[in-house]
Subunit: 498 residues, 2 copies
């Protein structure tokens, strides 16, 4: 696959100057249009060592306006990064809509180098590439433009470039021991690179292989490619916008017939005395378990969804009462801030992923995408429909990092909800909890019910089950939740021991 | 000062339950009012080990709604924190307006423990306390409410509490070696605590000393105090808002007579050929110097202010051309995002403070507070007037961390500005750079000039000088800036060697 990039293409100095100057003007103009657009641009510059990555990146930075772009280089992860799932460090650097992010050493660096040095086998590499494709698809589905350039260099040229750099005292520093080590592995490296490029050259994010033998040629080629990609994307996004309505597939409608929520026995109850005893017992237990989880650096993530007035706040309070305030955080999800709105909808959840051992409780969550955003029409049909897979992939990434994840749906029936609305209106310190919007949501009960059913069907699995909580009786619901969290922590701690 | 907190005050179990329940209702109600207010609340819980800090924090978390508050515990700093000025880790956790942040182990922990273990002397402690007072004043001046509670415990009670905790297998883990170590230092600790509390009990952020001998008593006392502080602050902020206009002191007006900018010789020029030679020379030099700075982990912060069309962008481009894109970041400052607007105006600058060895270039900066915000009336007079000291303190904190700071004012005269406006309108890829706003700003030249003069007078010092750049000639300006940065880096690197 690299043959065409080994022809030794080059460009004359004068021609380079002329073309670079024209290119710069065009890049600045297109960047200005980009600023008002609704998508971010990610430019990944990878390739063979000595292939001119640094030079290409620097010329992109010189041609474009650095005010609206950011170059992200990934060296060793910081401790804050190591304590989180591995893609967290990439999520935190994702450019906002209208901005450009350049990636030197991206999500490709680690898998390739680990495979070259045989720290992972081929199957493990395949898994990594699958995750990368998922990430790139998720971003491009949301409109992002991902431009991937691979700077290639023939082995003999790489050797001679290193020699040239090493000879000159001014550039000697640029050839590191790591580079020399890589050079010895050139053939292995190339074989793996071929595989990676093949498997990740998707229709939504293809690779461009660039002949890196002449640096000015590489600069122009990458610059021109970036320009064209952005031009094309600006056009296609505008077209897509016009067509969105037509593209929308039909919503599945058979689901209405089966209502999972109806299968719950809402008459289950727990007496006050029994509740008090159980609460004390399980809160005590939870206190110990969360402390042990902290010691072994295992984080938890608890997701609460449910009908308005189903008692999410009350359940959360019974959980937090049992924990040390220094180790948990409750994240209420409502309207995104403007920084959040300028990113992929999962970005705002990634940013709250806790450090090792911490507990994060989401009061409403990413499931809003397939609940409120679906029902209220805030997300297009194709957006919420693909969200199921996006969400499952997101949760699996957290799971793979060793996080404990629990998802609760708190279910009450319509009569109980109304009773609680009325009750809230009569309790001084709860009045603020009830608004007109609650009544508006209630009127859409059937639509929400349909959405809840589909959500559970599509995102519940043995690894990541939804726990449906019968919540007409608050006491019963609270104990069920605390107990479930205790059991999951116990299981995790037991597995850790064996 | 601790006598009153050694009386051994306590509260009966039944009374506690009754009072706690009332308090909770009131706290929830006031928190709901707080949500719509324009200030954040910081609650610092410090004190003697075993004084019940954890218990008090947990009860505050149980009484208040954890959705709108966050408990921040500070253990060892992460590497990302260590690479930045020490207050950075506090800035990143500051609550937004309407939210509550609880601090366990705050900016007080390190100075006290370092003094107890004689890692710093008394003079150094004084300096730390001064910085703390500056931080607290800066936040409260901006409307923040800072509530500081110190939980006191007599020596014999501390001893017996540790004994009791150690005996019980369920609580044994809570007494650490560090606690035992601290216990041995009780008297020293108390003497230093007294000094710290005295020096930092300011009118804007006084300490409340709480008798920690009975945990329920401490819980109620702190809870009640928090409630009253928030109630009082809500009232006083409302009053303050009504009075703000009347409070505004007279603007200094004598300054108009002296115009620093007039002293610049704007006729200085550099020929094109000389420019090219010098540019190549100093860019080469800068490339080497920034690489060396990276090796020794010294960050730089470059601030650019100047008239519209003074050539900031061009200067910045000549700087970045000489650096590796992986090591710098250009931050354009325009309208704050809503997350930024919900914090102190310096928060948005703290968040971009670079990690070790990195270069951050601010195109416009915190000086907007005393320039555009002053002239356009976006900041009240007392706000921009106190900003001079706030800014100097901010920059000194960065300097103390070892950062290299350069501040440039790019000066052109009105004729040259008009010439450039016209020119921009005729160059395709620069058209977007000229808007009606530029003409509006130009009409306020005299007001801006006055503001610039006062800014330079109040924020230029031998440690943190403003570098005034004669920018009618672009070539001259660019070389002056690059040269100045080179010289500063050389000086820093030289000092590092000796």
């Amino acid at each position: 696959m690299f043959e065409i990039a080994e022809l030794g293409q080059s460009v004359e100095r004068d021609e380079y100057k002329k073309k670079a100057s024209e290119l710069r003007t065009q890049l600045l103009l297109i960047q200005d249009q980009l600023k008002d657009s609704q998508f971010p641009v990610l430019i990944l510059i990878s390739g063979v060592d000595g292939g001119g990555k640094g030079e290409v990146i620097n010329s992109l930075n010189a041609w474009l306006d650095p005010h609206f772009m950011r170059t992200n280089a990934f060296a060793e992860p910081s401790d804050e990064e190591r304590e989180r799932p591995k893609f967290w460090r990439f999520w935190r650097t994702l450019p906002a809509k209208g901005r450009i992010g350049i990636y030197v050493g991206s999500w490709y660096s680690d898998p390739i180098s680990q495979r070259v040095y045989q720290k992972i086998d081929d199957a493990a590499l395949q898994v990594e590439l699958k995750l990368i494709n998922q990430l790139e698809q998720l971003l491009t589905d949301d409109g992002a433009l991902i431009i991937k350039c691979w700077l290639h260099l023939k082995k003999d040229r790489q050797t001679s470039r290193f020699k040239a750099l090493s000879k000159n005292p001014a550039t000697k520093w640029r050839v590191t021991d790591k580079d020399r080590q890589h050079l010895a592995k050139y053939d292995v490296f190339l074989g793996i690179a071929e595989q990676v490029l093949t498997d990740t050259s998707t229709p939504y994010a293809p690779w461009l292989i660039v002949d890196g033998s002449d640096i000015n040629y590489s600069r122009l080629t990458v610059g021109q490619y970036v320009l064209e990609c952005i031009q094309r994307h600006l056009l296609s996004q505008a077209e897509l916008k016009a067509k969105t309505k037509a593209l929308v597939p039909e919503v599945l409608s058979k689901l209405e017939q089966h209502n999972l929520l109806d299968t719950l026995d809402l008459s289950v109850k727990l007496g006050k005395n029994k509740y008090k005893i159980e609460l004390e017992k399980f809160q005590g237990k939870l206190n110990g378990l969360t402390r042990q989880a902290l010691v072994v650096h295992r984080s938890s993530l608890l997701v609460f969804e449910g009908w308005d007035a189903a008692g999410k706040g009350g359940v959360i309070r019974r959980l937090t009462e049992a924990m040390d305030a220094r180790n948990y955080q409750v994240i209420p999800i409502s309207k995104p801030t403007d920084e959040e709105a300028a990113h992929h909808y999962l970005w705002r959840f990634w940013r709250h992923i806790p450090r090792a051992g911490q507990v994060t409780i989401y009061d409403r969550s990413w499931y809003g995408r397939v609940l409120v955003e679906r029902v209220e029409g805030l997300a297009a049909t194709n957006e919420w429909q693909r969200a199921y897979a996006e969400i499952v992939n997101f949760e699996e990434a957290l799971l793979a990092h060793g996080m404990v994840i629990l998802k609760f749906w708190l279910h009450v029936d319509q009569d109980e909800q109304m009773r609680r609305f009325k009750q809230r209106e009569n309790i001084t310190y709860k009045q603020f909890k009830i608004t007109d919007e609650d009544y508006r949501n209630r009127a859409k009960w059937d639509d929400y019910q349909k959405a809840v059913n589909e959500m559970i069907m599509r995102t519940s699995s043995s690894k990541l089950p939804w726990i449906l909580v019968e919540a007409n009786d608050k006491y019963y619901a609270r104990i069920k939740v605390i107990k479930a969290y205790c059991e999951r922590l116990e299981k995790m701690l037991d597995e850790g021991k064996s």
